[in-house]
Symmetry: C3
Subunit: 384 residues, 3 copies
């Protein structure tokens, strides 16, 4: 932070403990450089072109700036040196360093990606923080399709089992056809019919609209927060069908169950509108903040437009390299400082309000939504 | 204004008299705090959640910053103190203070919301400025549905009666199905048929597409400016159907009648494009400026992209608390200063041009569009 | 450049030689002031309104700021003086001055607009740079419609003839129905049938979807870069149908042929996403940069979000007044400096990286995509 890094606001942002409300596991096993570089490109599902390098991107530059020093390397270290140094340490050591450096007390872990990464317990052990599971609805559906007996019943039993300890649900409807179209609750007969059709075809990757809608409404009934992937992700999703405004009818009938909209790019302004329009809607810029790097402050500023300040939460959406779990926090701290410091400098906001808003977004809002107990002191112990 | 508040540009912006080209009445009768807080949230149509407060938003922070001092309170005064002080004064006293402080010579009042607020005459008396009526087309339609005889004739008669003194028309097609779809003029037979169907069902809230189209084309024939609600509003509208680009075909056939696009968020860049593309299209960021508070300068900057500088106008869209009528002006002055001062500081614009553009947006463009007489000196008398 | 104009980054940006990867010819014959003013408004297809002036726009202000001095006039010179001075010089003299001042080594010239402007050879002679042709697919189609015999064969022969020397292709599908809908390759029978229908109707302006798709896939097979007009243009295009996200299915099947997305406003963030998602997709903000003037830095910043840094290229999209060929370069230099200088100042980027990115966007990426030979020294000889 180059501006006024010694202000009370700056110190508060540096030290504030975060709830990372949407994250995945980090790697635990060694891999090639190509695995690492592909993990620094979210949208591409193919190996990067020969002429390209993920280091030559906003994320790559941010990683060299912020992650280098955590490993004892200079800022802006060259990619080759960074990669070699990283390789020597191993994923467990990397995870311990980066997770601790993130200053996160609670990780809310979406366990729905089948991949060789840390689960909630491992993430907790590696980081020294608490971890809570978020259950992916489409995964439950795919398990129910393989279970014997009535599909709806199997889905409900599996979901309730997992939700005994889980803290919320997640849907990737964005990747399974998008939001455009009818999202009302299907009838039991429609569900049974669709389930039969799906099971007859093998019951593997869920894309049946009726069953996707069934899952969403089951989640609403639980009352626990439902996370809905919005916008930016890999190219398997039709990005234009993930505009959250297509959710308007669904939200109008969603009752009081909290619905959290993460990522959001390039629809963060639309998502902010929904957070103003519905008492149960919340927004989060995770993932996007990492990928925008030096441009993240502008994005964080746009998140702070229509969304009421008690409706915004923090996440990293880290997955794979533990750098991403840390970088999300580092870039968020940097970006929120740039934005709020600007508001205070211009006289638009009082500094005390800015500090309070840091607490709201950093942990208070998420603690309220997910009913997490907070410790008395929500600053990072190592700094306070 | 923290930067260069003593420059000629800064002084000119502070003193420039405004034409508020889209506004509603302010309250005249006392109300509860919940009425006040709900009036500070545009999108939500329900009571705010218990955990929420409209004071914790960009609008809330801006109100505490800018409106406090008008009532003799310090900047950033706490909500409780602000509310108590406000309650003691009463709505009439509040209106007199805030309307005068706005520095507005002319209020163009959309009278289409049935609510207990000041009408044009009262607004004029309270503010010391002039007030002019803008007639809402859907209201005329709903009156025509209740009138005897031929619907089209009744509509035309009612419209012409009101337009004898009114200065323009307004359509909320955005709230009655949005812009997507055919917007050509229907035939007399289609109108008669649709009117019969609507009257048979009670003829209350107009949502019939044929009759909405009929109203728009009647307004075009009048030649007086037609305001079309664009984008941001409450959640009854399907925001994605209010993208003004859906108006392209309508605009291509709209002739020379001025069409003014207010609000526009998050479509202000699309609206600016239309203002460049059509000689008869104009843009205005009213309402949005209030809700963005400390972020308003960025929005005002985006309004100053493709739109020609003679095609941009000012409004507050104030409705209810008189704070909003003032805040629109205060935030616009602040935001346009930030943006234009930046252009001048970087050497991109000459200061004399920036001053001229302030006059264009502040009053000259609106005076030309609505054929308003301007006084010789368009600065606020109290300051000049 | 007001900030740190003496830094190494500033000097590098001032001197860097550019490849203008999408441009049209400049005028060679004298014209009226109305021709000039209309050429400064991209979106409007009608004469400007009497009350309007293209000088009162961001482009107009930028022209007065940057082009005045090239003609020996002061910055921000008044429109009348500028116009009179310009008229005295004549188009050839203007072209020589402005093209040289642009600092461009290579012009990639879209020759598809039938208009009295310089062709590639003339542009090369006037500028002292190299010029390369980009062939417009819809023009080839319209020639094939008039040719005897099989349409598909005629198209292929004409295309291959022209591509013997041309460097890439261009499609204006954006103006011929937009991107929404099926963009797969049609069968030979479908092509033959559609061609017959079109020829029977005169075979003039191509709007047949089957034949547009045929052309695109022929271009893909060539392997040479295909430019696709995105977003901002004149009002004949339905801007909302030029959202590049509608190209997702087409891009998923496009193989390795480079596809370049120029202009992009207001979809530059969506285009950047596609550049991250597909190895063969590239973005370019030409045209938009000119029209945003003092706001161009913000746009250039948004182009530097999701797009990998090896996937961004430069163009002016100049057409008509030679001012536009120069202004694109002047505003790009100014904007990229503002943005990258900000990244360096805040410590987010190293200056050496910023300088390298200037080379990537300014010429290296385009040279790689179009397989252009670069001279050893890619700075402008007059400055280095």
């Amino acid at each position: 932070m180059t501006e006024s890094a010694t202000s009370e606001l700056a110190r508060h942002i540096r030290d504030v403990a975060l709830i990372d409300q949407h994250v995945h596991g980090c790697w635990l096993t060694a891999g090639e450089r190509s695995r690492f570089e592909n993990a620094l490109n979210e949208a591409n599902t193919q190996p990067l072109a020969d002429f390209d390098s993920a280091f030559d991107s906003q994320l790559g530059f941010a990683l060299r700036k912020h992650c280098g020093p955590i490993l004892g390397l200079p800022e802006h270290v060259d990619p080759k040196t960074y990669w070699e140094h990283r390789s020597q340490l191993g994923e467990t050591e990397l995870a311990e360093r980066f997770l601790a450096a993130a200053g996160v007390t609670d990780w809310l872990v979406d366990t729905g990606i089948d991949s060789d990464v840390a689960g909630p317990a491992e993430l907790s052990a590696l980081s020294g923080g608490r971890a809570h599971e978020v259950v992916r609805l489409e995964q439950v559906a795919e398990q129910a399709a393989q279970a014997p007996g009535d599909y709806a019943l199997a889905f409900q039993e599996l979901l309730h089992q997992r939700m005994a300890t889980a803290i919320g649900t997640k849907s990737i409807l964005a990747y399974r056809g998008g939001f455009d179209g009818d999202l009302t609750e299907p009838s039991p007969a429609q569900v049974a019919q669709a389930a039969k059709r799906w099971r007859d075809c093998g019951g593997t990757r869920l894309s049946d609209r009726v069953l996707l809608r069934f899952g969403l409404h089951q989640a609403l009934r639980l009352g626990k927060p439902l996370q809905l992937h919005i916008g930016f992700g890999d190219r398997d999703c039709d990005l234009h069908k993930t505009n959250p405004l297509y959710l308007l009818d669904f939200l109008r009938q969603s009752g009081e169950t909290p619905i959290v909209l993460p990522h959001c790019y390039p629809y963060e302004r639309e998502a902010g509108y929904l957070a103003q329009a519905f008492n149960n809607v919340f927004v989060d810029g995770g993932l996007t903040v990492n990928y925008l790097g030096a441009r993240a402050p502008e994005f964080i500023g746009r998140l702070l437009e229509l969304a009421p300040l008690r409706k915004i939460v923090y996440s990293s959406d880290g997955f794979g390299p533990a750098e991403l779990h840390y970088l999300g926090a580092a870039l968020w701290r940097r970006g929120i400082h740039r934005v709020l410091h600007g508001f205070v400098q211009s006289g638009d906001w009082a500094e005390a309000d800015a500090i309070r808003v840091v607490d709201l977004i950093g942990h208070d809002n998420a603690a309220r939504i997910y009913q997490l107990e907070q410790k008395g002191d929500q600053s990072m112990s190592k700094n306070s």
